[in-house]
Amino acid sequence: MTDATLARPGRMGRGFQRTVLVAAVLAATFAVASTAGARYGLLLLIGLGFGITLEGLRFGFAGPWRAMIVRREPAGLLAQLAAIAAVAVVAIPLISENGTELVGAHAPVGFAMLGGAFVFGAAMQVVLGCGSGTLVNAGSGNPLGVLALPFFAIGSFAGAFHLTWWTELGTAPLVVLDGYGGVAMTLLGLSAVAAVILWLAAPGTRRVPRRLWLAAGLIAAFALANLIVAGQPWGVVYGLGLWAAKGAETLGVDLAASTFWSLPVNVERLEQSLLTDVTSLTNIGIIGGAFVVAAWRRGLSQPIPDLPLRAWAATVVAGFLLGYSSRLAFGCNVGAFFSGVSTGSLHGWAWFVMAFAGSWCGIRLRPALGIEGRP
């Protein structure tokens, strides 16, 4: 490593700094477990595992989709499909046999859902951060991620506020692929997508690096742990919307005016602490995990890029759209694509198609918005 900070005098020793990081992680987990309960402490640890894996092994969603669209490099997308397949093999039968204790990320396909996924795909290419990616970017100090995160939360809150209006535009019946037949159909679908992207791949790019295989295995393991511990699959967007909803309530916004926020399950979430909310805990863990990896590697000494004002403005708008659209789409790349497909929901597949088309458009927007130079 050629990091200039290594030679900087007066800095804490590297070993001491890493010891502090590990101690902080353990202390935070113990604090949550002893204050809220052991399950919640474990969920924070699972979130930290997601964050450390995503940042440490550079496993993402927006970047690999961009690599496939721009350079026809399929490795990252293939790793995503492998992780989803690994979860599906266990999760779909488990949910089928334990339908009360465990629920899948099951949602219906609808007009707003499809449009939401398209807009999400475009916005995630503008900020190069999806649901999990925005959390990771914020935790690792990427200034665009830090700026996008609060607007993502506000957008998620607003999208949930209006959700029933959007779903009434037209929503199909729920379709779930369950049991071992559901596993077979899901694996068949994932194999078909993998075959298409391998066929489209540029010569010499078909090999998946060992780092990504390892990341796919770890992400799958943490996703299954999330399901077994929480009783629900990995998600991101609900927690962010809840953070903004609590803020709005504090500022005097009447949440009873929203069908969504006045539902008993959401009223309970608003009354109870975030430290007892599944997606809030894993989100906090992802931010913390990304911070730990960035600090561990001394990546925090990277300078903040000098971007034009319109790039920052675009990040604010895209952050809001990421939150709003993912509520209409019944999830982001995590809740809808990863967890939807891996628990047998048809909406996960519809989300993938629409978000990929949106990504194609979003990639072409970035140079116009000043976030990167034109090729």
């Binding site: 309960g37 009360t100 077994i228 609900y238 602490s273």
Partner: protein, 57 residues
Amino acid sequence: MTRRVTATAALALVAALVLLDVAGSAPMNPFQAPPLLALGSGEAAGGAHCAALPTAD
């Protein structure tokens, strides 16, 4: 300015959110918390998820 500032700001924002939330939410009781694992607990899944269609049921 380096990422040290922005990453610390992100962590501080999350810490402030949690502290304000704990101060304003119902008190937590770890002795009434759900079992460690939902699987095998015999309890219905009760968390909120972004994929859930909002219905009054």
